[in-house]
């Protein structure tokens, strides 16, 4: 069997006596697109945060590309190729688009925490940033502060910065949230174009995005894995339908 | 270290004043994550007003009332006039109160001069009484009683009334409070005003023992900050415990090692914080 991209073993997370994640185990193969869905409060975002290292699990192991990262702080997990996006785009609103991209490209590039190099004199990294901006069609707004840009642009800046770092495992937390309905098809197209070297774990409410993009779907309910399989199989699953129909799902399928 | 009744009484009476100043600071911080650096100024205003009113009208009790209401009025002006505009910008709010502290410091010196002023306690509370075999000033004992009563009142208000429940909910999670349809800013405004009232009352009550002079604002602010930091930001019971600890430590050190009096409580604060950054009774937030 090939090495797995992500392996969660019996992840449990309790906060103040409340069990948010209950013995979650799952395996994602390299190149796979995995969607994690579930009613509100099912623990999806918590799960992504545990994988990314922002929350320590109460029990269980997180293994990324064969390496146990359970005890690794979030910033060190980037070394194994793990990156995450947030519901509110994880961008720096007060910095320009170019600075956002540079920040991603400059990570770990210069010794002494980057004190040894002036950003403007690093021609190589400036050129790389230019390429990234061009590739993501952001050149026209390169020197605008991100806070002035519409939401869709901010999302694009977030993804561009993540891809500039060449991730191997990308965690997307509701990337379609905040997009207008007519933007969704274009967004799905963009997701589909992601290279297959990148493994993607996606939390998403929009079923359109999930079914258009995911190879496999994991359903979380009350912090536990309720079902796991191909999108079609999960859709047929009676327990899943029950969980969704029980009214726990406050937001409609976008 | 032999416990001396007199210094315990002095320590506890000081703790009463500290509590009055610190509790508003603490709850306001808990709600809005901002430190009111004008806290000491409100205390100073309370003290000076009380001194003037007592001199003009000859009534200690009216002086207390006037000091408290004067501080309340200034507090309301600060909140309505300025803090409101800077909603959610904690750094600027802190800076604003620093500016207010400068202004008050200078204006009070202008009006009342630079010499320490002392208010005489009312007739009934002058002199000393015998307590546990030691002679202690009556007014100090009265201060302790007042502190206990007021702490009880604050506790009742926050723990036993619906309005207090809003405040506590706001300290835990302001967003949640607003989701319940309660105006967090109004809750904040009321807490801020009550805090100012208590500060002014503390200043008026404290004037007979510590006197009031330029610099008293900074001194009480720094001590109150220690209390708040030690007790845990936003915690009323923490403020009570920390006031007592700081008051007693301060009084003991003054008795047995006067040179270190200024220094001891800060070391205490730094030590506690190194071990428990959230304070003695505070919860882990922020």
């Amino acid at each position: 069997m090939a090495e797995t991209a992500l392996q969660l073993e019996h992840i449990t997370k309790t906060i103040g006596g409340l069990t948010i994640l209950d013995d979650v185990s799952l395996t994602v193969m390299p190149g796979e697109r995995r969607a994690v869905i579930g009613p509100n409060g099912a623990g999806k975002t918590t799960l992504l945060n545990v994988i990314a290292g922002f929350l320590p699990p109460s029990r269980g192991r997180v293994v990324v590309f064969g390496r146990d990262v359970t005890r690794l702080p979030a910033h060190r997990r980037v070394d194994v190729g793990l990156l995450k996006t947030n519901q509110q785009p994880a961008v720096f609103r007060e910095l320009t688009v170019r600075q956002n991209i540079l920040l991603a490209l400059l990570r770990g590039r210069h010794p002494l925490l980057g004190l040894t190099a002036l950003v403007s004199l690093d021609r190589e990294v400036q050129r790389q940033a230019e390429d990234v901006l061009e590739e993501w069609d952001l050149l026209a707004v390169a020197d605008d502060e991100v806070r002035h840009l519409p939401h869709g642009y901010q999302r694009r800046v977030e993804l561009a910065a993540r891809f500039a770092m060449q991730p191997r495992l990308l965690l997307l937390d509701e990337p379609a949230a905040g997009l207008a309905a007519e933007e969704i098809p274009g967004f799905i197209e963009r997701l589909r174009r992601l290279p297959r070297e990148v493994t993607v774990v996606l939390v998403e409410h929009s079923m359109r995005v999930v079914f258009a993009f995911a190879d496999r779907v994991t359903v979380l309910h009350h912090g536990a894995v309720l079902a796991d399989g191909t999108p079609e199989a999960v859709q047929q699953d009676e327990r899943v339908q029950e969980a969704y129909l029980s009214g726990a799902m406050r937001r409609g399928h976008a | 270290m032999p416990l001396n009744t007199a210094s315990v009484v002095i320590g506890l009476s000081y703790a009463s004043l500290l509590f009055l100043v610190a509790v508003g600071l603490s709850v306001v911080f808990g709600l809005m994550r901002f430190v009111n650096l004008a806290t000491g100024s409100l205390y100073l205003i309370g003290g000076y007003l009380a001194w003037t009113i007592a001199g003009e009208l000859g009534s200690f009790w009216l002086a207390l009332l006037g000091g408290a209401l004067g501080a309340l009025a200034v507090g309301v002006v600060i909140e309505r006039g300025f803090l409101e505009r800077l909603h959610r910008n904690e750094l600027l709010q802190v800076c604003l109160t620093l500016g207010v502290a400068y202004v008050v410091q200078d204006v009070t010196r202008w009006i009342w001069g630079g010499d320490p002023l002392r208010l005489r306690p009312p007739e009934s509370l002058r002199g000393s009484i015998l307590l546990l075999g030691s002679i202690v000033p009556t007014y100090r004992v009265a201060l302790i009683v007042a502190g206990v009563v007021l702490a009880g009142l604050v506790w009742y208000l926050l723990e036993r009334t619906k309005w207090g429940a809003y405040v506590r909910a706001g300290v835990d999670d302001l967003e949640m409070l607003e989701c319940l349809g309660i105006n967090g800013r109004r809750v904040f405004a009321i807490v801020f005003a009550l805090g100012a009232l208590l500060c002014g009352l503390g200043g008026a009550l404290g004037t007979p023992v510590t006197g009031v002079a330029p610099g008293a604002d900074i001194q009480i602010l720094l001590m109150a900050l220690i209390v708040v930091v030690l007790g845990g930001l936003g915690s009323v019971s923490g403020a009570v415990v920390a006031s007592v600890v700081v008051g007693l430590v301060d009084s003991m050190v003054r008795t047995y090692w006067p040179e270190a009096s200024f220094f001891a409580v800060w070391v205490l604060a730094a030590l506690v914080l190194a071990v428990r950054p959230q304070g003695l009774l505070g919860r882990v937030t922020a």
Binding site: A42, A74, G152, A180 | L86, W110, A269
Partner: protein, 346 residues
């Protein structure tokens, strides 16, 4: 390419401004008499102090009310060295910087467990502890009396031709310029970019793989070093160091200068220091009410111009840029503004 032209034009103006400023500063002793020159020296020193504070407050978003700890530490180090050991200027300044850095490295792990108002209060607490230590160690520090009679160093090669005030002015100017140049390097480096990002959202920076705690620790140490250097110069300038130099009032003043000038801008704190000190000397010639006026200025700045003096032109540019952007983004009308911020926990 109007954009590039504009920035090139701006660069040229900037260069011109620097040349004029440096020339003016170099010629100042020729035109100014002793008193204004000493005010100018004080502005340079406090400007450096406020700029070091700005590294924390403006660039990293760490509000400190205890930065006087470094200012005082630097002062006491050079004071003690000059008074008791006759250590020459260079090594004394280096040791002062080192003391600031070490003090920051020791206290950093305590204060950096927190942020926001907690950070403010913790830095204040630690400064008060230091204040108490200085007070207690009377035998060494002179307690309340401080250390008077510290000789003001002079530039040897100018010693014959200049009177002492002007001589020390040039010395301070040279040191401050070098310090500011190195600070400019810091904020324009890759490290400096990370600071700005941390100010806005530390967690996202961590998610990009930056060791944010270490970055904050490093900037705290740097700010401590610069702050101590400013304090050392101030002690030399006054020929005296006392516990007042450690007082949180000095830290508060640095905060005022930084905010009035513009926190998070490079030159803002220097401008703020100039405004505050010039006003102080101007105002104190006709009234005692300096503190009142300072307080009112500060309140007015916070309420009316919270981003500081230096940012006024920038704000105008911003308005112009917005107009340009709106024209640019017209074709993508389909984009939706993030009007409703979906706050949701799942």
């Amino acid at each position: 390419m109007p954009m590039e032209q504009m920035s090139r034009l701006r660069q040229r103006w900037q260069l011109l401004a620097y040349v004029v400023a440096v020339a003016a500063l170099l010629l100042a002793p020729a035109v100014l008499s002793t008193y204004p020159l000493s005010v100018l020296t004080e502005i340079l020193i406090f400007g450096l102090f406020a700029m070091s504070l700005n590294l924390l407050l403006g660039y990293t978003g760490l509000p400190t009310l205890g930065h006087s700890a470094f200012f005082g530490a630097g002062g006491y180090v050079v004071g003690l060295l000059a008074k008791y050991y006759q250590v020459p200027l260079g090594p004394a300044l280096l040791l002062a910087i080192l003391a600031g850095v070490v003090l920051a490295l020791v206290t950093g792990p305590i204060v950096l467990r927190t942020s926001g108002a907690y950070f403010l209060m913790l830095t204040l607490s630690l400064t008060q502890v230091l204040f108490g230590v200085v007070w207690l160690a009377r035998g060494v520090t002179g307690g309340d009396d401080g250390l008077p009679g510290i000789p003001t160093p002079q530039l040897a090669f100018l010693a014959g031709s200049l009177e002492p005030t002007a001589n020390f002015y040039y010395l301070a100017l040279a040191i401050v310029v070098v310090a500011i140049a190195s600070m400019a390097w810091v904020v324009r480096s890759s490290f400096g970019l990370a600071l700005l990002a941390i100010r806005e959202n530390e967690r996202v920076v961590e998610g990009l793989g930056y060791p944010t705690w270490l970055v904050k620790y490093a900037v705290y140490a740097l700010a401590g070093g610069y702050g101590a250097l400013a304090g050392a110069l101030y002690t030399f300038f006054k020929g005296y160091v006392g516990p007042g130099q450690l007082s949180w009032l000095v830290a508060g003043e640095g905060l005022v200068m930084t905010i009035v000038g513009g926190a998070g801008t490079f030159w803002g704190p220097m401008v703020g220091a100039a405004v505050v000190l010039l006003l102080r000397y101007e105002v104190s010639t006709f009234t005692q009410r300096w503190l009142l006026i300072l307080g009112l200025i500060f309140i007015a700045t916070v309420v009316l111009m919270p981003r500081g003096i230096v940012r006024l032109p920038e704000r105008l540019r911003e308005v112009r840029a917005r107009v340009r952007r709106e024209e640019l983004l017209e074709p993508v009308a389909g984009e939706r503004q993030p009007a409703e911020q979906v706050v949701e926990r799942s």
